[in-house]
Symmetry: C2
Subunit: 204 residues, 2 copies
DNA sequence: AAAAGTAAACTACTTAGTGTACTTTAATTA
DNA sequence: TAATTAAAGTACACTAAGTAGTTTACTTTT
């Protein structure tokens, strides 16, 4: 009977869910396979039947989370809308991602493991490296449209994101500060946009 | 005979040196006390005679490294020198710190542990949080002198540092990119100074 | 003589991963 | 539809390895 889902699929989902939670809260090393099995309410043997080793499970989990989180980063340029407005929109999208619990959990998880054993998370960083491509393209378009004066779009994009991350990602990663409120987010965005346009904006 | 140093001091130094190296390369969890003892060519009991537990040893090591690295961050304001030149100097000092092997090793060590168990490294972050105070003071002085127009010196300081860190700290922490060459460092500094003065500089 | 160091065995515990005998689930055949 | 078969799950004992920290009997340094 295939009325709902096959048992084996349900089990796999339980395992992933449990592993995500455990890895998220305790990291790779501090999480045992026994614990994941117990949390998933599944026998340990079943975990190993789905994932041959702890490393393979971890990589499946991080890849899953990366895919889940890294989707939207397209920023199509619209010549009809002032660049300032568009920049605000981009910043809002970025800050929404950075401050989401899933994103932060994923960054923590991958960070704490990657520093100890870089090869375990190498593929994840390919995703990370590319996550500002959307903005780079937007900057190129705006420059081509004569609304910005940017010689190095990749650098400009990183600078803009850095002005946001320094308030809305790194302090939270280290647990030093809580995720900023909406009001604080607006201030962060405003000052980043101001600084960016002051440097790269074309005065009319 | 106190001709050189007392034996017990020499042993302690051997232990610290070995522990620094082991923690640096393998992190807290992956380093065993047996290994530290072996590396220091000292019996394990001697390690425990100096440091009652692995945690205490780790904290002693991180504190030691913090103190060793976090010393210079004073940036006295000089009204005789153009702010642009002074900013360059500040940026050079900062980038020299960020790109030093000791600093990067320490950040890696503390980061990878703090994400798994924040309480272990809590005290270290007090040092980290304060490391831009020197620049905040400089900005206040320059503003008071009418050479800058800054309403929030703490934010401005973080922005300036973010423009450097995004190229000379975070990519290196994640092993994505090597430490930038001197020439690249100059570019990073120039663009950070340009962006900062464009936003906060007072046109004469 | 007292303080510190040493080697090595030892405790008590955790963990990744395997093997086995048995039960449940789902699909195929009769 | 009912019986059969194979795939998947389970419980649990087990291996092999590692580790923090202790104890002990002995040696070296001050």
């Amino acid at each position: 009977m295939n009325a709902e889902k096959k048992l084996t699929e349900l089990k796999r989902e339980d395992i992933i869910e449990a592993a995500v939670n455990e890895f998220k809260t305790n990291g790779f090393r501090a999480t045992s396979m026994d614990r994941i099995a117990a949390t998933a309410r599944v026998s340990k043997r079943t975990v190993y039947n789905h994932y041959a080793s702890k490393e393979i499970l971890f990589q499946a989990i991080t890849q899953e989370l990366c895919d889940r989180v890294m989707q939207v980063s397209e920023h199509p340029y619209d010549p009809e809308i002032p660049v300032k407005i568009q920049l605000h929109d981009i910043a809002e999208q970025e800050i929404a991602l950075l401050t989401s619990a899933e994103f932060l959990d994923m960054v923590k998880m991958i960070t704490s493991e990657s520093l100890a054993s870089p090869e375990l998370t190498k593929t994840n960083f390919e995703s990370f490296q590319d996550y500002n491509i959307g903005m780079v393209e937007w900057i190129k378009s705006a420059s081509g449209d004569g609304k910005l004066s940017v010689t190095d779009p990749v650098r400009a994009s990183k600078q803009f994101l850095a002005l946001i991350e320094t308030f809305a990602l790194w302090p939270q990663l280290y647990g030093v500060k809580p995720v900023p409120e909406k009001k604080q987010q607006k201030t962060i965005i405003d000052s980043a946009v101001e600084m960016f346009l002051c440097t790269y904006g074309v005065s009319k």
